[in-house]
Symmetry: C2
Subunit: 235 residues, 2 copies
């Protein structure tokens, strides 16, 4: 049975990397001694090695070892043998390009559909949706497709940001961008604020964390959903 | 000789559409009675017709007529016959997809290199660079390529936004995104703040408007450039 934890962000303001979600991760990965880390999104251009060190330092606190996928000779085997998987944030275009280049899309789909627990933050959460088309990232590299893993039957907008009512900036708000998406696409989009995550168990999806999430559906007004909302109706 | 006006935004806070730049446009399109408008970027999902009306209303004030490219039976002929071209902002992914679908990339390159004056705002400015990879837009549609018109030998980041030092949001700043771009690409990127534009005459490029622009080059610290800076060294 599918088991995912899909988080808006790795880090909330004023706390260390993953600190806010470590208690949840400890339960989520219960019984797992080592997880596979996918560092391909390379935030701020960090090397795979340096990024994996960041993940290691956080997971040490809950006694879980972390190995970066770049440490393995064969990335597909690494996915197939993993007891748990964590894909970190960074640039979604780069992440998706690397997943296709390493032919990992079908391997990831296969193991996660068959029960390997998957944790994603930010870009690592974006790719759990049907497509990466609601990323906030800059298209720094051209991926062969925008289609992603489809573990959930909708898309994620991580780091969802409410409009700044005092801003004089004329660039589009996040809501405007998602509405533009819905002028030509019908996939629902869930705006996950920083500190929120989704718990997925099979086809059951529940909103977790302290904050509301904002659901955008084509042809409907956006709605605010409180924590603990059952989102299975989207699956 | 190439003649372009590449603007960060169509609209500055507190003013009407194109109002801040109409005096400049009047000089730029001197002697031109009618321009071709390319509404493909469809801001907020506006129809081509409705968007063209917005452009018409602005250009009426300087006695220039506007016809939308969708009004012509043959879009390539429309570009070839245009006395001036304006590409409006909106979603860059959608704009670039439509330009490729309508086979307009080479037609636009050809006429603008041969002297048809070209004015772009936001997405319409993004496409004057080598690639669209420094857009701020959401990838709402998959274009066949990120390569764009290359009228200038660098890329534009329109609506350039300085980091909000009071923000508690953990999403990447604009500068972080552009630096991530430079971890894997060498094309220089010019962050154009709202109210700034570039005047291009052949291979001469000058920064115009009241504000500084911010130049990002691979392996160098970003620099602030004052208005009237000659940017021809980037060409």
């Amino acid at each position: 049975m599918k088991k995912l934890l899909i988080a808006s962000t790795s880090t909330v303001h004023g706390k260390k990397y993953l600190e806010y979600i470590l208690p949840e991760l400890s339960l989520f990965f219960k019984g797992v001694k080592e997880i596979l880390f996918i560092p391909y999104a390379r935030p701020s251009g960090l090397t795979h090695k340096a990024y994996t060190e960041v993940a290691k330092t956080a997971f040490e606190k809950i006694n879980i070892e972390v190995r970066g996928i770049h440490e393995f000779e064969n990335a597909i085997d690494a996915v197939n043998n993993a007891k748990g998987i964590f894909t970190g944030g960074g640039n979604t275009f780069l992440l998706v390009k690397e997943l296709y280049d390493h032919k990992l899309i079908s391997a990831l789909k296969n193991v996660v559909e068959n029960g390997t627990p998957y944790f994603g933050t930010s870009a690592g959460s974006n790719i759990t949706g049907l497509t990466m088309q609601n990323t906030n990232d800059m298209p720094i590299i051209y991926p062969p497709s925008f289609n992603t893993l489809g573990f959930i039957n909708f898309n994620i907008n991580p780091h969802y940001l409410d409009p700044d009512l005092n801003s004089t900036h004329m660039g589009e708000t996040r809501e405007t961008r998602i509405n533009e998406y819905h002028t030509i696409n019908s996939t629902p989009v869930l705006g996950l604020r920083e500190g929120s995550w989704l718990a997925v168990n099979g086809s059951k999806v529940t909103l977790k964390g302290d904050l509301n999430a904002r659901l955008f559906q084509q042809g409907k007004a956006a709605v605010e959903l409180p924590s603990e909302t059952d989102l299975s109706f989207l699956m």
